[in-house]
């Protein structure tokens, strides 16, 4: 298992945000955390990435205890994308993607030619070559999101955590983004843990779902097992129905 979460509890002051969460993700697969607003998805994924301390438990990524590493050591094994990445005004897209190599070259030294080669490779792979000199602030939502993904892949880790990577994108760009990530999982053995709101999309692209409610795991496993009408409806507090269309699970609100 590449990512192992054991009895993880996250607190902020006296309130418990995530409690006794355990699950694991095999290498080269995609696990999606689902759950209603306030279920603790963001707290969970930022804690997985080591950016938030744990009250209890531990997170192992490739057998390393994430919370026992320095920022730089962590950035060598895992990459993280927050829900609303900051767009640095005045920075070119290429310079932004170069930031992904920070852990590799260190901040006292500049990127080596090898680092820049990695960056150019990723730009090519994500079809961003033509935008390389554009100011980050002038990119559209879809381009910006791909730029963030490029920076993340440039980091060169085999494990990536993403918090709501398709927020604010239209349907086509959502699907493009998911397809890009899926390709990295299938072809480059990338291990992905992401949070998503769109249950239908989540079920179609991911290998494993973890359903979170009030900071606790309610269900986990393949989409077909997790997306059941009764448990979903209870967690989301509204009646949901699960249909199968072309062999894929589709979750819709009940018309009644």
């Amino acid at each position: 298992m590449t990512v192992v979460v054991e009895d993880m509890t996250v607190r902020a002051g006296r309130s418990t945000l995530v409690e006794d969460v355990s699950f694991s993700v095999p290498a080269g697969s995609w696990c999606t955390i689902i759950g209603p607003n306030g279920a603790g998805k963001t707290s969970l994924i930022t804690a997985l990435a080591g950016l938030r301390g744990l009250a209890k438990g531990r997170v192992l990524v490739k057998d390393l205890d994430v919370h026992a590493q320095s920022e730089r050591q962590r950035a060598h094994v895992l990459a993280f994308v927050p829900q609303n990445p900051t767009v640095p005004v005045g920075m070119s897209l290429r310079d932004y993607v170069v930031l992904g190599r920070t852990a590799a070259h260190g901040v006292l030294r500049g990127p080596s030619t090898a680092d820049l080669a990695v960056v150019d490779g990723v730009l090519e792979r994500l079809d961003l070559g033509a935008f390389a000199s554009r100011d980050m602030a002038t990119l559209s939502g879809g381009e910006g999101q791909r730029a963030v993904l490029a920076r993340t892949l440039a980091q060169g880790t085999t494990v990536v955590f993403l918090d709501e990577p398709i927020t604010g994108l239209d349907v086509r760009h959502q699907l493009d983004m998911m397809a890009l990530l899926r390709k990295e999982v299938d072809e480059c053995q990338l291990t992905v843990v992401a949070t998503l709101h769109d249950l239908t999309l989540a079920s179609s692209v991911t290998d494993q779902l973890v359903l979170l409610s009030h900071g606790r795991v309610v269900e986990k496993g393949p989409a077909a097992e997790v997306l059941r009408r009764d448990s979903l409806s209870a967690v989301y507090g509204t009646t949901l129905r699960v249909f199968t269309v072309d062999g894929r699970d589709v979750v819709l609100p009940s018309s009644k």
């Binding site: 930022t46 990435a49 950016l51 301390g53 320095s70 920022e71 730089r72 962590r74 950035a75 060598h76 990459a79 993280f80 927050p82 990445p85 900051t86 640095p88 005004v89 005045g90 920075m91 310079d95 932004y96 930031l99 992904g100 920070t102 852990a103 901040v107 006292l108 500049g110 980091q155």
Partner: protein, 334 residues
Amino acid sequence: MVSAATVVATLVAVVVGLVVGPTSIGAGAILADLLAHVGVGHARLNALDGTIVWQLRAPRMVLGLLAGAMLAVAGGSYQGIFRNPLADPYLLGVAAGAGLGATVAIVHDGGAVNVPTWTPWLAFAGALVAVALTWLIGGRGPRSTTSTLILAGVAMAALLTSAQTFLLQQASAQSLARVYIWLLGSLASANWSSVEVVLPYVLLCSLICVMAGRALDVMSVGEEEARALGLSVRQVRGVVVGAASLGTAAVVSVVGLIGFVGIIVPHIVRLLVGTSYRRILPLSVVFGAAFLVLCDTVARTVLAPSELPLGVVTAIIGAPVFVIILSLRRGVRS
């Protein structure tokens, strides 16, 4: 091109700082005298002119270069660390601490004509204690952020300024006037020993700030993402705040509170060369140095033999320059 222009500006400032003054001494004569000093030729200035150039103007010019460079690079570094365009080198209590230290020294000394010789040391100590307290309150511990640090700085400045106000309210009118003059900042008391005191701080601290440029560029994506990219944000913040504050404290203790350089110079440079701190910081060093020497030349010549307060000149010259560049850049963008 901008780099070349700032270097030229600095050379111009050096020449102007040596040549311009109430006593007319030509640049050629000064150069010949300098060459004679190192054994080339024999053309020397007469004793009086020599003293004016090498004991009055030269140390004043060098101190101006050092102070301008340090204040500008410290301001630029603070703006990067706090991701706040309004940050200046006095943000974390350096000015309030130095002001209180100097006030204590001057008021304690009573009615003497000159500011007591230990004023700089007390101002230096006051500045460092203020920043250290600010850091202890708002910069340590797992829950500290740049916001808690700024707020702690605001509180510390308010506290120290009120102590200073109390002292001033108790002081004689003469002490009051001298504290006021000190607070406005001036290079008038410059000599080679004050240069010697400030030089090591400015060299070390501005070098550290410039070297942090790349880390500050990473921080432009915010603290959380910078950490995710592998940057030890806490460490960078400690080192940069420490270096910028130490250098500023050393400068302020000798020249007083020269305003505006630390905020305006990095912004002018940013408008000219873009948002990367790898370019902003080294150019701020050079441009800040030139800017302050030129301002000081204006300060000491316009109303000669009396002097304008340096902080007034930096604002009178700096604000219009900034507005012009800002409107030109806007024109370019739209």
